[in-house]
Amino acid sequence: MGGRPSHGVLAGYVAGNSWLHRAPLWAKFLGVVAAGAASFVLLDWRVSATALGVVLLAWLSAGLGWRRLAASARLLAPLCLVLGAFQWWQLGPATAARIVLNLALCFVAAGLLTATVPLRTLLDAVARLARPFRRLGANPERFALAIAIMLRSIPVIAGAFDEVGEAARARGLERDVRARTVPVVLSAVAYARRTGEALAARGLGDGDDDHA
């Protein structure tokens, strides 16, 4: 998994000075939480579609561009298709549409946060938010590091899907599910091992130190 990571919605920070870039971090956090809550609150697919329209407008007005959206749509499409088909079969088209739209809403809302806040600022914020958990024995810095690694891993693993897909096409195996998935799983495990080793080598996985 040495290739370039995917440029999807969660591909990381996009430098800029838009209203969304300047908006306070707490407001963006609140937006993501609200989008998550929407899955339970919005019960009409038309309302979900409107909410998705609003976050898409926010995305475009922040100058984040269509390319990232398109890359993410390509990645999300198979999941939405399977999920939507299953829900349609089980609960009908209106529920299927609502669930898929709410999923897309969460995804784009999370993308708005990661695209307009530098990762180091997110790290500081997560560490601050996790501070109360220190009383329960949790280390806020580890909390922040875990979130950072997770955010970093999403585009890398998505990039592995692209790479493996290309390799499968080159071998004429584009329809072979095994050829398209097994190498991604192996790459993801290797990536996790390398990242873990790199963190350990830098002492970032060690317990809190004197400065804590």
Partner: protein, 237 residues
């Protein structure tokens, strides 16, 4: 300089339904020189030897100490003293940009965001990486990435720097850039390499062959020994 001591080190890994595989055996050495090179064929045990120095792996038998600190028992203290640079900098740079990665290294030392940013800038300036600091690490050349990884490790000012084949993925220009950067460092450096010119820059060179130190001495003699070793017909042939 620090005193790195390997005493009777053995590293073996279990293999299912087979006898364990021996990676290193009977390794003893005291390293106090500023530049120590480790050369050897692929699979000879170089990387394992280097990983022992930072406590990334523990010996199956024997001890490894850095200034008296046991790499197994005092792992955290050892890692604060010994920085490690991997062959592929992309394995090491865990943040999207170099600046964020250097700041990540500094998080434990500098909790204040402004002070941390200033400290990171100073490290980046030291390696003339300021203009590249906010670019995605994927947009950097191999040499720039390797320097960025080096900067992220040196940000916490380790006493010892361990580099595992740092020039393997670099072209000639970037190799020279890395070589000049390493030459200017005050730290004690232990590195493995297939680049025999780089090995000649060291004060002492170890030749590792099939898990053992086959030669330990002056770099020029070590390179001559290694060339002869590689020219000899292999036992497997």
């Amino acid at each position: 300089m620090s005193r790195i001591e390997l005493a009777g080190v053995r590293v073996a890994v279990p293999v299912e339904d087979q006898p364990e595989r021996l990676i290193l055996d009977g390794l003893s050495a005291v390293l106090t020189e500023q530049r120590v090179a480790v050369i050897g064929a692929n699979g000879s045990g170089k990387s394992t030897l280097l990983r022992l120095l930072n406590g990334l792996i523990a010996p199956t038998a024997g001890t490894v100490t850095v200034d008296g600190l046991d790499t197994g028992r005092d792992g955290r203290a050892v890692r604060q003293r010994v920085g490690f640079v991997f062959t592929d900098p992309l394995s090491q740079l865990v943040m999207p940009t170099g600046r964020e990665d250097v700041e990540l290294s500094l998080r434990r030392r500098q909790r204040n965001r402004t002070e941390r940013a200033a400290a990171a800038q100073a490290v980046l300036d030291r390696f003339a990486l300021g203009p590249l600091a906010d670019q995605s690490v994927y947009d950097l050349s191999g040499g720039e990435r390797q320097l960025m990884a080096l900067a992220a490790v040196l940000a916490v000012d380790p006493d010892v720097l361990v580099l595992d084949e740092p020039s393997t993925l670099l072209d000639l220009r970037n190799r020279e850039l890395l070589r000049r950067s390493l030459a200017g460092l005050a730290q004690q450096i232990v590195f493995s390499t297939h680049d025999l010119e780089l090995a000649l820059d060291a004060d002492r060179t170890l030749v590792v062959d099939r898990g053992r130190i086959a030669f330990d001495g002056a770099p020029a003699d070590a390179v001559t020994f290694y060339r002869a070793l590689c020219s000899a017909p292999s036992e497997a042939a």
